[in-house]
Subunit: 301 residues, 2 copies
């Protein structure tokens, strides 16, 4: 019999299997934009973890669009996935209602969402601590005029990281100079950061260091610095938060506070799997990020 199976190259029809078993052995992930390195690496990490558990992963992107977010969630539900991890970018109530109503297990990944925390497992980094770690490192180098590049959204990781920046500066220097905190849009991070930094270097030439709340912000800083004749790591120190692979290959290599992507992938997957009811139901502790010292902070000198 087994011979026949091998000979004829029989393969079970997974569609029929899914229909009958009422389980597709597939998880879903919804992130804003896969062409952004951070989300691509996050998705890869979740996929690795899912594969490890014998599940496939369906990866969807929303382009930061609230209705696309809802559509993609609906599409995943239609596809009968066994669990969904979501990095929300908008008002989380509509997606939360949809997900809760569906009965499918879900988690919030990388971003928590005001108003639905506590109802659903949350797998996030300790972003506030990360901002503080980055800034403390800069302060440790003796910098006293430190800019922070951030975004507008309250409650986002970027915003948390900025809070950490403020914590560190306030603890060390007593007060935060608000004109050194640059909030830029969310669409073209590197470009917007470049512009903001360019004008800051003109008005506040006394800045000696920058805490970038994402790697992309840091890219913009590099460009602005070059055009102002500032040398990264020598006359302008930079540390960023995220730690995507590409930061190793900037010139000079970027010092980062790195998100523990693998651990996040594993936690998210674990929380979606059957049997997670007890262990993972409560919002998981934020995961610590770790400092990776390279050259942009001035350590290489």
């Amino acid at each position: 019999v087994e011979e026949a199976v091998a000979q004829l190259g029989y393969r079970p029809n997974t569609v029929a299997q899914s229909l009958r078993r009422r389980s597709t052995m597939t998880l879903g992930l919804v992130v804003p934009d896969l062409t952004k390195a951070f989300f691509a690496e996050l998705a890869a990490a979740v996929e690795r973890a899912a594969l490890q558990e014998g599940r496939r992963l369906l990866i969807c992107s929303t382009q930061f669009d609230a209705v696309r977010e809802l559509e993609q969630l609906q599409a995943l539900l239609d596809a009968q996935v066994d669990g969904i991890a979501l990095t929300p970018t908008h008002d989380p109530r509509a997606p939360a209602d949809l997900l809760r109503g569906s009965g499918v297990p879900w988690v919030l990944l990388h971003r928590h969402a005001n108003g639905v925390d506590g109802q659903v497992p949350v797998v996030v980094g300790a972003d506030r601590q990360a901002g503080r770690t980055a800034t403390d490192h800069l302060l440790g180098h003796g910098h006293r005029t430190i800019a922070c590049l951030t975004g507008p959204e309250a409650g986002s990781p970027v915003h948390e990281r900025t809070a950490g920046f403020r914590d560190a500066v306030r603890a060390a220097l007593g007060r935060v100079e608000e004109d050194l905190v640059l909030s830029v849009g969310y669409d073209h991070l590197a470009e917007d950061a470049y512009r903001a930094m360019t004008s800051l270097l003109a008005t506040r030439p006394d800045v000696t260091a920058v805490c970038a709340t994402t790697d992309e912000h840091a890219f913009g800083v590099y460009r602005a610095a070059a055009e102002h004749g500032r040398r990264i790591g020598r006359t302008l120190a930079v540390v960023s938060v995220d730690g995507t692979a590409q930061t190793r290959f900037l010139t000079p290599a970027l010092t980062v506070v790195a998100v523990p992507l693998d651990e996040m992938g594993r936690r998210a997957t674990a929380a979606l799997l059957p049997g997670a009811g007890a262990a993972a139901r409560p919002s998981v502790e934020p995961l610590p990020l770790s400092l990776v010292v390279r050259s942009s902070c001035g350590c290489a000198r």
Copy 2:
């Protein structure tokens, strides 16, 4: 009746639908590595095209591993996808046999594969022409000692682009100096390119320009140049092929010959859809890449 549908929030079970209709309205894509910007953007382009045609896209990566490639293809077949686009990285015969045997429409995307061309639609860029375009631009700036950063694999896009580099140099200068053609590994492009370029700048300080066969190679060139005191766009001109989004934000912005990702996505999708039998069966003409002039080539001066 329609009211009841709306009231109860009824949604057809797509799994059952697929089982009955014997079509999942889903296409599959297999690429080497989604954390590489080029493939992430390629995948996004294919997904846009598929969505446009009312199809979902299942995206899989192989990590450049031949057995994972086969496994992912098998997984897509098991999932009953209606068509598969593959960017192969190894001997294409095993995947080709599998795919042909399955009866599912498929295409080769971005890379063709020796030995199976002609049996399957091929959607690729005109990489040889692209290499020539990049090099001609450098020659047009007056450069006469031009290095080329490339990879080892015969038949790959990178290899084609190098052939284009050779075409251009030979046409303009009569002969190619082989020690200016640097072949680096495929795993850590930027890092390896950095090393190769570092040693080249030491042994051949007379090079004034570089044709990078991928954007990643160019990143390595930027780093090596900086450490040698060479200024990109001023004392070292660089043009690369690919044109991923990040190249805009290098300092100075990278001049590229850009792959027409959207068009490739559309072609690949079209060839997989029913009714493509006549139109798309023959290997499609390679798609032209276009020069995007920015600053790294010296045009900004």
